[in-house]
């Protein structure tokens, strides 16, 4: 029988300990759960989106800022396609571009929820894709729906072998989406206003007036849709703010300031949207009356509507060019560079200051 010295045993012990640490680290990296005897199985859920953005497998599922699960799969769902639709997707020799959502083709996100304290009603629950912070990863934000207070939590009835429950996926509306909707409205409004100016203010042409008013009505409908979208975005921003604000620690003053700025900006956006809406609705409602009564007021109405649309366009352009103004605001006085200080020194008869390593005072 071999005998080992104390020194060898201690050394072997350290080797085993190091191996165990490496193994734990490897399990952790691979996300392998080593717990034994857990009596709760996570609930498997699915939701469908036309665009999942940067969401990936392993991303968090959150409720109220707290992690309650994770994304387990993302795949294009094609079993909804009929034969004709499948044929239509055969792009050989065709220049047709199939976009997400066309022909019932959607992205199915599978995820699991494993928090035993979460109450959820799959019939009214929904998930949306959000982002934890400006630089953070995407995540699934869970709205557990409307569940009666005395109902049992359903999270324990699932299991990996069960068919996943499907809940609603809410598409997010990014700035691009907002702008895509705003563009045609602005174009339509601009065309309407051109006709408004050119035709109404010249001859008494009642047919033309009717035609134009019909187009104004059409633009108003689109404008209303645009405003609804803008409000939804504003709500999303506010929701994100509240979500994140709940998790802000007192020790992060800079983050708190950024969040307060975000809240303020969301409020400003909302007010701006309300103002634009009120202006547009008021103008469009009064247009018919004004046309009949007198032309100077038409001119004023035209000018104001044009101004409103112009402001909306500028807002959209500013957001598109620099979305971070939503967080940080856009009135940075430091950007002003009128007659810089060096020029003032030069032109007021003063000498320039010494520079670094200027050796000849």
């Amino acid at each position: 029988m071999n005998t080992y010295t104390k020194h060898e045993i201690v050394t072997g012990g350290f080797v085993v300990l190091a191996a165990a640490i490496f193994a734990l680290f490897a399990f952790n990296i691979l996300d392998i759960d080593l717990r034994i005897g857990s009596d709760l199985e996570p609930v498997q859920l699915t939701a469908e989106f036309t665009d999942v953005g940067a969401l990936t497998v392993g991303d968090r599922v959150v409720f109220g800022g707290t992690e309650v699960g994770k994304v387990t799969g993302i795949a294009i769902k094609i079993d909804q396609l009929t034969r004709e639709q499948a044929d239509a997707l055969n792009l050989k020799g065709s220049e047709t571009v199939v976009r997400p959502g066309d022909n019932g083709q959607v992205i199915q996100v599978t995820f699991e929820v494993d928090d035993p304290n979460l109450r959820m009603d799959p019939a009214t629950a929904s998930v949306s894709i959000s982002r934890a912070s400006l630089l953070g990863r995407d995540q699934l934000a869970l709205d557990p729906g409307r569940l009666p207070a005395d109902a049992d939590p359903i999270v324990s009835i699932g299991g990996k072998d069960m068919t996943p429950l499907a809940i609603a996926g809410q598409e997010r509306l990014g700035f691009d989406g907002l702008l895509a909707r705003a563009g045609p409205i602005l174009t339509a409004a601009q065309a309407t206003l051109d006709n408004f100016n050119d035709k109404i203010l010249t001859d008494d042409n009642s047919n033309a007036v009717k035609s134009i008013l019909a187009r104004v009505d059409s633009a108003a409908e689109e404008a209303e849709s645009f405003l609804t979208s803008a409000e939804a975005t504003s709500d999303t921003v506010r929701g994100l703010t509240e979500n994140v604000q709940g998790r802000i620690d007192e020790g992060w003053p800079a983050t708190r300031a950024a969040i307060e700025s975000l809240t303020q900006m969301a409020g400003t956006l909302e007010k701006q949207v309300e103002l634009i809406g009120a202006e547009a609705v008021g103008l469009l409602a009064g247009a018919d009356q004004v046309v009949r009564e007198n032309r100077p007021e038409i001119a004023e109405a035209t000018r104001r509507l044009r101004r409103t649309m112009f402001e909306a366009e500028l807002l959209a352009r500013k957001l598109r060019s620099n979305p971070s103004i939503v967080v940080f605001g856009d009135d940075d006085p430091l950007l002003d560079a009128e007659l810089n200080d060096q020029a003032w020194l030069l032109r007021s008869g003063r000498a320039q200051p010494y520079q670094q390593r200027d050796e000849n005072p």
Binding site: D336, L345, G349, Y354
Partner: protein, 307 residues
């Protein structure tokens, strides 16, 4: 043995070359990173327009060496610039007084310091009037009769006091000493511009640009000058160069917008006015930019309809 000696010799040569290169690098103005000192830190803060931090750094440098004329002069300049940004006139007056005290202290320690003399003269002229300023500038030019900078500064002061003819004379004296003087050429250009002699002004500015091709102030002035002479293409080139160096200058964007509009490039004019509006710190100016933008959009719409 010989091989060993040759290796040691090669090593010595390599070390010597390295030391020589290092010394040459230290002698270059832009060759190496600045030494971390309170003065250099002050310059860095000054360049960032952080007046409080710059003044604090210069004061630390002076606490280590009260005879450091560079730190004291820069402190005085910093205090004056801080006075320009002061919240109210009382604070501005206090800062200007502190600046004058620092300059007087500098002159007490170094009676021939030209920079201190010029800045004290400018302060005296602004506070006590033209004659007080003249006296001090004349003292400075008499003390430094071969300094083009002194005459150029005097010329700039006189122009600020609405004496363009005297200003032009002093600028000519500066250029007689040093025809390539940047400050002298700018002062002459400014004076001639005020007198309506656009050709001489343009010539002076172009001479200044030859020695300082990256001065946005001169580029902007030349752009305006060429625009007023009806040479929109040349004006556009100067405005573009100025914006390459300082893309956030609203005044240059406004000028570029006027140039573009005259050339019929309405979309470009809209872009520059839009930038000027966003960069403007004054609400009144921003409102004027909005009106310009609205007018330009009107022109753009008319042009599109015509097409």
């Amino acid at each position: 043995m010989i091989a060993l000696l040759s290796r040691v010799g090669l090593l010595a040569i390599a070390l010597g070359l390295s030391a020589l290169l290092a010394l040459l690098g230290c002698g270059r103005k832009d060759g190496v990173a600045p030494i971390r000192s309170h003065f250099n830190l002050g310059v860095a803060h000054f360049d960032d327009q952080q007046w409080d931090a710059a003044a604090a750094s210069y004061r630390r440098a002076l606490s280590e060496d009260p005879s450091d004329r560079r730190a004291r002069f820069n402190l005085a300049v910093t205090l004056e610039l801080a006075a320009r940004d002061a919240a109210d006139e009382v604070e501005a007056a206090q800062l200007r007084t502190q600046s004058a005290e620092e300059l007087e202290e500098l002159l007490r320690r170094h009676p021939d310091d030209l920079r201190a003399m010029l800045n004290l003269a400018a302060l005296a002229g602004e506070q006590d009037g033209l004659d007080a300023g003249r006296t001090k500038y004349q003292s400075a030019t008499e003390a430094h009769p071969r300094s083009a900078e002194a005459f150029a500064a005097y010329a700039s002061f006189l122009l600020g006091q609405e004496e363009p003819e005297d200003s032009a004379d002093q600028a000519q004296r500066a250029l007689a000493i040093d025809p390539g003087s940047f400050a002298g050429n700018v002062a002459l250009g400014d004076a001639k511009l005020a007198l309506g002699d656009l050709d001489t002004a343009a010539e002076a500015y172009e001479t200044a640009l030859r020695t300082h091709p990256d001065q946005p102030v001169v580029l902007r002035t030349l752009a305006r000058l060429e625009f007023e002479r009806g040479r929109a293409e040349e004006a556009e080139v100067y405005a573009r160069r100025a914006l390459l160096i300082d893309p956030d200058a609203p005044a240059v964007h406004r000028l570029a917008s006027r140039i573009a509009e005259q050339q019929g490039a309405i979309e470009s004019a809209v872009y520059h006015t839009w930038r000027a509006r966003d960069l403007s710190s004054s609400p009144e100016q921003a409102e004027r930019d909005r009106q310009t933008l609205s007018r330009l959009y009107g022109r753009l719409t008319t042009a599109s309809a015509a097409e």
